[in-house]
Symmetry: C2
Subunit: 333 residues, 2 copies
Amino acid sequence: MQRVRIKDVAREAGVALSTAALALRDDTKLRPETRRLVRDAAARLGYVYDRSAALMRSGKSHTIGLLVCEITNPFYAELTAGVEEALDEAGFVVMLANTSESVARQRRMLERFREQPVDGVLIMPATGTPPGLLEDLERWRLPHATVVRSFRRGAHAGPDNRAGTRLATEHLLALGHRRIAFLGGGARNSVSRERWDGYARAMAKAGLASEHLPCRTDIGEAAALVQALPADGPTALVCFNDSVAFGATLGLLRSGRLPGRDVAVIGFDDIREAAAWFPPLTTIRVSPRGMGQAAARVLLERITQPEGPPRREILAPRLIVRESCGAPLRPKG
Amino acid sequence: MQRVRIKDVAREAGVALSTAALALRDDTKLRPETRRLVRDAAARLGYVYDRSAALMRSGKSHTIGLLVCEITNPFYAELTAGVEEALDEAGFVVMLANTSESVARQRRMLERFREQPVDGVLIMPATGTPPGLLEDLERWRLPHATVVRSFRRGAHAGPDNRAGTRLATEHLLALGHRRIAFLGGGARNSVSRERWDGYARAMAKAGLASEHLPCRTDIGEAAALVQALPADGPTALVCFNDSVAFGATLGLLRSGRLPGRDVAVIGFDDIREAAAWFPPLTTIRVSPRGMGQAAARVLLERITQPEGPPRREILAPRLIVRESCGAPLRPKG
DNA sequence: CGCGGCGAGTGGAACGTTCCATTGTGGAGG
DNA sequence: CCTCCACAATGGAACGTTCCACTCGCCGCG
């Protein structure tokens, strides 16, 4: 009652080992009848392909390592789903590591992946990742791509963050707001910088002053901050992302203000919950799932053509108008 | 500029290949000086361990396959994080597959994992999984464990769902509620059955009639259902889980009722957002992260002791009182 | 003084594929 | 009738570890 190997299938089918191997890969060098014969024998014996042996000989593992900065964040969870979906379609399996924004853990898992070995790695860099990591990846000749957060160079897929917050800010300006603050962000990563930048530039262009309300990306923290905001504070909030925006609406509710009527709130990401929120959240859609798929494609291209230049795919965001900026509010007491 | 192998390290250190291999595993059969010598040589050459070769010879991949029914659900995302954390600590790597509740995809990914090969699989069975899957796993002699949703037998870690909804229902009864409905669930899986069961039994014990408001586990759907509820409907809702409870509070708000004052809402799971919600959600805590860790432990035990009986770890839930059930109802009702 | 046992290190087979070079066969072309 | 080629199938080395059996000194003991 041992495991069934190609050898056993070959014996059962009455052909040579290498013939059986060829047949199982459905190689056209073999006559269809022979392939048939071997397949039937394999099915009869319950043969299971052993990728580890194949990997050892061929050097291709058909496996990629995925480094997620925080999988419990719905946005990254959705992104992970997109990556997994696209890679599965291409016949790849995903090795998962959740770094929880720990640079040390990220480093450790990367080395693990290298041992495994994987054919490439897809990274959402933890906040504070040193540029040395990119250099290591290059030195190791490990095909890699980043998603959302990026390094200065290397394959990448992510949203156009500047365009996103610009869109958001201009929408608020068009609605007549003048005192518009930027809520959240402030972390030392490319996304925070770019989103702030898009907002600040739009404000400058309108001849208005920027105002930063920094907080961590956490519903509770954002809620507390907004709850404490004075009545003569900003009339509109461009939020770092939807989670922060959710916090903002909760904070307004708790202090007796109605989001959308008293203070306009606009998010970023358009995560699944945004449409169902109260009030439904106006936000910038970037489709995390689509970005995950794009990133997977970019990485696969890197793996198959390691010599070509790394591709950077920047996805255009879209403004989704709902009710948190004072569009038709439901008449409600 | 080839990859560095143990052979190369051995040559550099001036020892035999097998000695070098032993040294790299830090085997106590070797003198500390020798181990040192080899380690230094390995570091000098930039040696990277190749797990695939080790796997082939030893049959141990130190890899487990994780089948998640829906990773974009925050509860399962948190659970995934727990699994990954615990397995990493034990030196295992996680292969991820998101089945999106598709039985076909689940089956396909399971066969892929088998080829990989993994040392075991951790499964959150997709809704509608046939019992045949368990039989296949047993026939394949693939160590396995389930989390949250379970089969009739086999290793498992999950919450005591009956006790959870019983706790919730008794809490509402103690607050004076009489007309209590169960919102959500209804899917054909063990969790739905058990949660309904705990609620129904508690109601029966109090001599009251059960009432089922079935809906899918989706904020929007729950919100719409609750919004349409008549004013003389139930005064309290035991929800299938927190997402459904979130939907319920949104539905109440939209129809001009205040959750906690007009209608009591109680959730299940205590996901991260529950505490920050408006109003903060009273719920049943099951700690998805803790459950993920427990499941990982149970599976590892299965892998190291395949002969022993599979362990089933049922975690006691805890009632977390916040504000969504209001202060005790006055006799007025 | 011989023998057993132990510590430290060595040599080589084995794992299950893939890949390459090779064989045998039948038919077309000269 | 021989040569050459394409096709179909075969044989065996190689991948980088692990594992087991083995050697070689050296020490203690009867």
